[in-house]
Subunit: 454 residues, 2 copies
């Protein structure tokens, strides 16, 4: 039997484990799942004979190294910052490793050791990063294989709520870490390339520079720019590209409303608000508006941000109950971002029967035989329920498939890897189709940003 150690069995483990359990008999697998708390794990494993749940504290060197020694491959589903100790053990005990997280500088530093030991440290093989890499590289390589030159690449991903559960004015609920949503876009200007020109957007304007994307059957979305659209420029082989843009998708109208919070300073996580515990939601909003002895918080907010009385954005604010003078924040020494997160969680937490949705949209512009072309490619995955979410599916399945492919010798290139080579993306994208993770590609008229170049 081949032994797989899965460390961490949080939100994104459901499909991962389901896939591995279903393959376990025919593939002769035994799966050990280590977590601090095995309750949820046991539910997911459901007494399967080819699996066991163990209590594992990754900060306890003894139990961690014992578990790693005793397996053939390690899947780390831990929060990203905890991978590195596992990775070092994997090098030491000569085990392959798979994670869905971004390659940290510490992980990258293990590349040489991994290669020397003929080990694969596969990273960024979830959805974003993961499926975005694979689906993009497949089309990019295809264009290059037929002699085309890539001139534009734009890529967008969103974790949203499924249309059938989409019942608030923001068309948004928290399907993943709420804190990351509140802090999204902070930490520096967004940078990207448009028609050969570098462009920069400061955080406080990020949500006002969006673009629209339409997906057949799902309507219109909007996207705001990621911090660093150029991160994979070289890895994707796009050093001479004219337009390179990566973004995050929301339903139309979200960004304009969200920008109200950004403008007022309510997403700031760098300082704490005085006496935050005892303030009401209304007091919180008022802290970002000038004092006045009679003017209402509502009018001061409308005036400060020039919001017309009939602007529909206002209803989005009211829906969140932010003007309520009776609801207390109840958080000690909280930052504005923490307080805002709490207010949003009152309204944006998934209900028991809510379903999530992952959307992805790529645009590929290229020149072939002197003519410009464009391929648009998109993917929509809907969750089944709160355990088998679209997020868990799109993160967990590629991780599981890569793990098995490594065990089976189908993926062999050693080192610190991300899934941008044919060896990896071809079999996995192909298998993902069987699970309904399908990209719809279509040739469209080349747009770009300069019609004079067409």
């Amino acid at each position: 039997m081949r032994k797989i150690l899965v460390i961490g069995s949080g939100k994104s483990a459901s499909y991962l484990l389901k896939y591995l359990l279903e393959k376990s008999v025919e593939e002769d697998l035994f799966i050990t799942v280590g977590d601090l708390n095995t309750e949820n794990t046991k539910k997911l494993l459901d007494n399967h004979p080819n699996a066991t749940a163990i209590t594992l504290d990754i900060f306890d060197d003894n139990s961690r190294t014992k578990a790693i020694k005793n397996t053939d491959i390690v899947v780390s589903m831990l929060p990203a910052r905890f991978h590195i100790n596992v990775a070092k053990d994997c090098i030491r005990y000569k085990k392959h490793m798979v994670t869905a997280s971004y390659v940290s500088p510490e992980m990258q530093a293990l590349d040489h050791d991994a290669k020397t030991n003929n080990l694969i440290l596969m990273n960024e093989i979830g959805v974003d990063p993961g499926i975005d890499h694979m689906s993009a590289m497949k089309v990019l390589d295809g264009i290059r294989d037929k002699g085309g030159t890539i001139i534009l690449f734009e890529s967008f991903t969103g974790g949203l709520v499924s249309p059938e559960s989409d019942n608030n004015l923001w068309h948004y609920k928290f399907t993943w870490n709420p804190r990351n949503v509140v802090l999204a876009g902070q930490g520096g200007a967004a940078k990207f390339l448009q028609e050969g020109t570098y462009k920069y957007i400061p955080y406080h304007r990020l949500f006002r520079r969006t673009e629209f994307l339409d997906i057949d059957g799902f309507g219109r979305f909007e996207a705001y720019a990621n911090r660093d659209s150029l991160k994979y420029q070289s890895a994707y082989g796009l050093d001479n590209i004219k337009t390179l843009y990566r973004g995050t998708m929301r339903r139309v109208g979200f960004c304009r409303a969200w920008n109200i919070f950004v403008s007022l300073g309510m997403t700031d996580d760098s300082y704490t608000i005085e006496d935050s515990e005892n303030m009401s939601y209304r007091d919180f909003i008022n802290a970002f508006l000038p004092y006045h002895h009679t003017d209402s918080v509502e009018l001061k907010l409308r005036y400060a941000l020039k919001i017309d009385q009939d602007d529909i954005v206002w209803e989005k604010l009211e829906e969140l109950d932010i003007f309520n003078a009776n609801k207390k924040v109840g958080l000690k020494n909280a930052t504005p971002a923490q307080i805002l997160q709490k207010i949003l969680m009152d309204k944006w937490t998934l209900a028991e029967d809510d379903k999530d949705m992952i959307v992805m949209y790529h645009k590929f512009g290229y020149e072939l035989h002197g003519k410009k072309h464009q391929i648009d490619s998109n993917m929509v995955v809907l969750g089944e329920n709160q355990t088998y979410t679209a997020m868990a599916k799109t993160v967990g399945l590629p991780v599981a498939m890569a793990t098995l492919a490594i065990l089976n010798g189908q993926i062999t290139t050693p080192g610190v890897q991300i899934p941008i080579t044919k060896e990896i993306y071809e079999p996995i994208l192909s298998e993902l189709k069987d699970f309904g993770i399908i990209f719809n590609e279509k040739e469209v008229h080349y747009l770009g940003y300069n019609p004079l170049n067409n």
Copy 2:
């Protein structure tokens, strides 16, 4: 002879040295001025028999400690971050020390040692901080002495250009470190108190929440909030105050125009612009605007920030020549803030015969015998020329006066001090009057922010 060592003889040393030299005979003083480069120092000393210029590298422990050992008191006019080594030597060799800089945590840590050795480490005795402390505490103490309770304190300072040299649309020139002007307000939300409520303004809205201030004979000014208006709340004895606000003064219209740079992200100092060296001023502006193949940078900017065609703010931008496609930035790997500084220095550098101006404005609201009152107090100092500037006068004279007062045993309280006690502010404010540094006080109708409370 009493020996004074002045370390550093930059922009703010002119009046400092002039004062000390003029007092040197009657007060029996000998002044040694140490600097890396003694050329400017020698000009300022003009072969005065009671003074000498020495070459002093403060990073050379030997020469630094030798100079400090051999004096009775040390005046450090170095950049703030370099004071600490001098201060430690002063403790070691039992010398008093005077600086115009903010008390750093490292400096504060020397308080116990200073007290044990009966030494005075006097800081923040320039203009802002310095004259602001002294002039505020004099009025605050006066109100308290007659039994009043302080309910409001607002304090504003500005380093501007003298009316006779005020010949650009921004009514602004660099009279001090241009970099600090470009970065002003960055690094976190501004925090203050209005009528008992804490208020927070994020950087990107700071320049849109200004207030107006009128000074007889000098017209109207505006002010934006400092980062931390509450910094001296306890030191000034204002723990129960309702309104506490500190700000920076500009001429009316500056802030609204400056906010264009803030909004576009042009004051950001956290990242570098690609190929900044070869870009034109116009390219620089365009980097913060969306790509378009025909729309002009001008129209894109007007549209992005909703600037009407007849808005006078536009002329301020044009005056800076920011749309020039032929002027090159010429700075390698520059941040937006560095590029903006360069553009501004083309236009805002003081001409040979330009004069500067320091303005200060305090508002004191208080209750006495059940009635509310307000005192407004302001000061205007004009520079004489580019050596004897208003900045050098208002920074250098209090430093010089404090130095002599310590030598003469008029200031005696040991420890890390700032000038907020009568012992310090009474004699110095009184002597400053002889040099034209005068506060005009008037009783005005109490305003506050809540007329219902009056």
